[in-house]
């Protein structure tokens, strides 16, 4: 079966890169006000957007690096290209219009083929720009918008201005400030009232050159009673120098809407992945973050849901898989700001070959939010003695009439489980793979089938290499 996006642990498969000769624009290394003005001018932005970028830049410069979480000392902000435009062809509507060099890249990653089979729309970002964007015609006719944010700033300025930076202000953290200052690309999704998008919209982010920073910006607006599932994937070649991926994703789920956001993060081991993701969920809406982190050197990411209206539901289901040299610091936050809201946070982590996973989560229930139900569960699996897993579950419950549960487990691969499976003829690596797949089953069964098959294939392949 064709996978909707290819995934790799053995990153040599993704370690191809296209020539940079034809690049339309590549900023010098380093960050400056002049660069921010250049980006804004190239995108022909309105004054308000430039003003916000400049304020954000100022805030980024003043704000200290976070002292908690993962080790970020490998990032050299002066050693990055902050804006790289590979081509003047942006948002091509057919793959034939995409320059060959880049088209080949996405073909290797399986994107055009998947588009035909499982997807309602596709965005493909190469370095800083979306070079391809499509949406099924019937959805377009119903008023669904799926474009990059630059386009939306031009075509739907009122919608963008209403929500952009309102869910995640640039002041939120150092990296949301950085993103706001130099953002480029990403997705704008608008689903009109009552419209249900039946198949996922998928965006794919490719970093190609060395020392690149990718700062896409995503804004999803689901009007009343609408539904949409957005999937993002990513990859990059392997370089010795660090690259930085720092996105901001804002979701507005209006009353009665349903939004699922699926991330399959498969960056190479030189990428720092520092992403801020947040959703506002209004009355009786349903927001689901499905977050799969299997790549990158360091990931710090805690998708959040603010439950703003009565009856809203939040779910965050995450998988962190850390191998040699990797640190996955992830989790989720749910803030209950209305009565009778519910949340479920489930985290699964697998650490091996010295990899490190941390669950970091916040559950907050504001005073007066009666009838809230929440459960938090994190399970960690360690495949060897040199790997590590930590859990930091924070809870702030200010209301008494609530039901809140928390459970955490840390386990080792059981000798007796391996023996049982091996006594039925399975090799040690097959047995190990089946145990790991069983452990992550709560996660993989919620992925769309095609992605789950690809993930399972990947885990089996990885385990066959880990038993000597």
């Amino acid at each position: 079966m064709q996978a909707p996006m290819r995934l790799e642990f053995d990153y040599r498969q993704f370690d191809f890169h296209s020539s940079e000769k034809g690049y339309a624009f590549k900023s010098e290394k380093g960050l400056s006000e002049e660069l921010v003005r250049t980006i804004s001018a190239q995108k022909h932005e309105p004054e308000w957007m430039l003003a916000m970028r400049l304020e954000a830049l100022d805030h980024f410069n003043k704000r200290a690096m976070p002292t908690w979480g993962a080790d970020l000392s490998g990032i050299d902000f002066d050693d990055l290209h902050y804006y790289v435009n590979p081509t003047d062809v942006h948002n091509a509507k057919t793959w034939d219009m995409v320059p060959d060099e880049y088209k080949k890249t996405f073909e290797k990653l399986g994107i055009p083929e998947a588009e035909q089979k499982f997807l309602a729309g596709v965005g493909a970002q190469f370095e800083s720009e979306n070079i391809y964007h499509s949406l099924r015609a019937d959805l377009e006719a119903k008023g669904v918008i799926f474009s990059d944010v630059e386009t939306a700033v031009q075509t739907h300025p009122e919608l963008v201005r209403k929500y952009f930076g309102k869910i995640i202000p640039y002041r939120d953290n150092k990296f949301s400030a950085l993103n706001t200052a130099v953002w480029s690309g990403g997705s704008f999704v608008y689903v009109p009232k009552g419209v249900r998008v039946d198949l996922p919209l998928q965006a794919y982010f490719r970093i190609n050159a060395s020392n690149v920073g990718q700062f896409e910006r995503t804004l999803i607006i689901a009007e009343e009673g609408s539904s949409v599932h957005y999937v993002e994937g990513c990859s990059a070649p392997v370089y010795s120098a660090a690259s930085l991926h720092s996105a901001v994703v804002e979701i507005v789920a209006l009353p009665g809407s349903k939004v699922q956001y699926t991330t399959i993060q498969n960056w190479s081991n030189n990428v720092y992945n520092l992403v801020t993701k947040r959703a506002f969920a209004y009355a009786n809406s349903d927001v689901f973050w499905l977050d799969c982190n299997i790549g990158s050197r360091v990931t710090m990411k805690y998708p959040s849901i603010y439950l703003m209206g009565e009856g809203a539901r939040a779910e965050i289901l995450s998988l962190a898989y850390a191998g040699k040299g990797q640190q996955q610091d992830s989790g989720g936050k749910v803030i209950h700001l209305a009565p009778r809201t519910t949340s479920v946070i489930t985290s699964k982590s697998v650490s091996k070959d010295g990899g490190r996973t941390s669950y970091r989560g916040l559950l907050k229930v504001a005073k007066g939010c009666t009838g809230v139900k929440s459960s938090v569960r994190c399970d960690a699996l360690l495949l060897d003695e040199i790997s590590r897993s930590d859990t930091y579950p924070y809870m702030e419950v200010e209301e008494e009439q609530v039901s809140v549960g928390h459970e955490a487990t840390v386990g080792k691969i059981g000798e007796e489980q391996l023996y049982y499976l091996m006594s039925r003829g399975l090799t040690e690596s097959e047995a190990l793979a089946l145990i790991v797949l069983g452990f992550i089953e709560d996660f993989s069964k919620r992925l769309p089938m095609e992605y789950a098959i690809e993930l399972n294939r990947l885990v089996e392949l990885d385990m066959s290499g880990s038993v000597g």
Binding site: Y394, K412, E415, M422, S423, R424, G425, L434
Partner: protein, 281 residues
């Protein structure tokens, strides 16, 4: 040539000697019952034959179809036709019986049944063994009663169709009807495959349904007496104690109840204890 030749087998768990010189020859189609009290080493014998990582063989030989088994891993032994029905089948979260059984059949039998064919086969075997209708879609051994777990082991025996089955107390904790059901399926496999059985049991009851050709009495890691089916009745009448007195070799005190399994659990616990501590809030 015998199917299985055990020659002067000694094995220990955690440095403690459990098997103290077992010699036994088993031919295709034969049923051997090993009877003994708790702690006599029955489970360890079965698990040593299956290749458990817990027991260490100190001396002795294990020949299966003329080939030395001791250097082979459990999966290699399974693929050569050795099967063990466990006394305490282990649970595996998230792994469905369907996936597990299909992979096992592919590995051991080299067959590649389609999902549909395989579901049909398993459903029919499961019905014969009075297992729940949704059996295949459950996690391996999770949410099954003790009896269902044992019957699921027998189902696996019938799917994998080995030439030697080691049945470790498949009767313990089962009511008479369950023993009957499980035994009928063991007999079916045995008949159809001319299978050899080593049946480890504490009680005679199961031998009414799986009729042994030979009965061996095991005490403190040794076979102290061998005979025909009539020996089982003797034990029932006189008890193991009386037999123990017959054996001048029994001197040391027997090992504790379920020695093998407690060691296995301990091994895992030790590993779990080495896991770095969970950070605080």
């Amino acid at each position: 040539m015998a199917l299985l030749e055990i020659k002067d087998l000694h094995a220990s768990i955690g440095g403690k000697s459990i098997l103290k010189g077992i010699t036994l020859s088993v031919n295709a189609g034969e049923v051997h019952a090993i009877m003994g009290p708790n702690g006599s080493g029955k489970s360890t014998l079965g698990n040593v034959l299956a290749g458990s990582p817990v027991a260490v063989v100190t001396t002795g030989q294990l020949l299966f179809k003329g080939e030395e088994l001791l250097s082979l891993s459990p999966d290699e032994r399974a693929r050569k036709g050795v099967f063990i029905a466990f006394q305490h089948p282990i649970e595996i979260q998230g792994l469905k019986f369907h996936t597990f059984l299909k992979r096992a059949v592919e590995a051991v039998r080299g067959e590649k049944p389609t999902v549909l064919e395989f579901r049909k086969t398993v459903a029919s075997r499961a019905a014969d063994l009075h297992l729940p209708a949704d059996f295949e879609d459950r996690d391996v051994n999770r949410g099954l009663s003790g009896g269902e777990k044992k019957r699921s082991e027998v189902l696996q025996l019938n799917l994998l169709r080995p030439s030697l089955a080691l049945l470790d107390e498949i009767d313990s904790g089962l009511d008479v009807d369950s023993v009957k059901t499980a035994s009928a399926e063991v007999n079916r496999w045995q008949r159809e495959n001319n299978g050899a059985v080593i049946l480890m049991t504490h009680y005679k009851r199961v031998l009414e349904f799986i009729e042994p050709d030979f009965v061996h009495v095991m005490l403190d890691g040794r076979i102290v007496k061998s005979g025909g089916p009539e020996l089982a009745s003797e034990i029932e009448a006189e008890g193991y104690e009386a037999l123990a007195k017959l054996s001048p070799r029994v001197e040391e005190k027997g090992v504790g109840k379920d020695e093998f399994y407690t060691s296995l659990i301990k091994l895992n616990k030790e590993k779990a204890d080495r896991v770095p501590s969970v950070g605080g809030g």
